[in-house]
Symmetry: C2
């Protein structure tokens, strides 16, 4: 399956955060999430595994009890049900890949 | 788990292709693959699901019977066992995410 970025839709989630649902099928889904400086990804958890690749910007990320600053090329693995969240220090974009698919994003 | 790009190792695969193993745990693995112009990812298949995000460059990609040119932001989902490969038209980098982990990459 090919998903061209020009054919995806940018969804404004409010508070300086927007996202695009990218290719998804089988047990995988790609999601691009844009953050303005100062925007927050509130602490939350879900049963899906998640791998986050920092495309650009700078973020302070918390996964469980661990907090670090991350920039382009850094990757974060989040196991099912682990609490995680971020604060955007410099405007940027994250690429999240989930398994299984986030059916809740498709409603 | 945090994996900082500065702590990863660039592995030269030859013929203009190199890669870095990024964060991997549970059922997920991230891998960054760099292609010089003209480098080829030969047609192959594997039992893992794969989601490819084009970070930069331009590629002609074949998945099964379908072939398209892709650039930054485009995403490609490859179901298990489907034949796929690419030709690099302009030097660039792909981000591959696999489920389950490519244990064969860790040997």
């Amino acid at each position: 399956m090919f998903t061209f970025i020009k054919d995806t839709q940018l969804e404004d989630l409010g508070a300086g955060v927007s996202r695009r649902i990218l290719a998804h099928d089988g047990k995988m889904m790609g999601v691009q999430v844009n953050f303005e400086k100062g925007a927050i990804g509130p602490m939350h958890n879900h049963p899906h595994e998640q791998l986050t690749y920092v495309l650009s910007g700078e973020f302070e990320f918390t996964i469980g009890e661990e907090t670090h600053r991350v920039t382009a090329g850094d990757t974060l693995y989040k196991e099912p049900h682990v609490m995680h969240g971020c604060v955007c220090l410099e405007a940027g974009t994250l690429l999240d890949t989930f398994t299984p698919v986030r059916e809740d994003f498709l409603k």
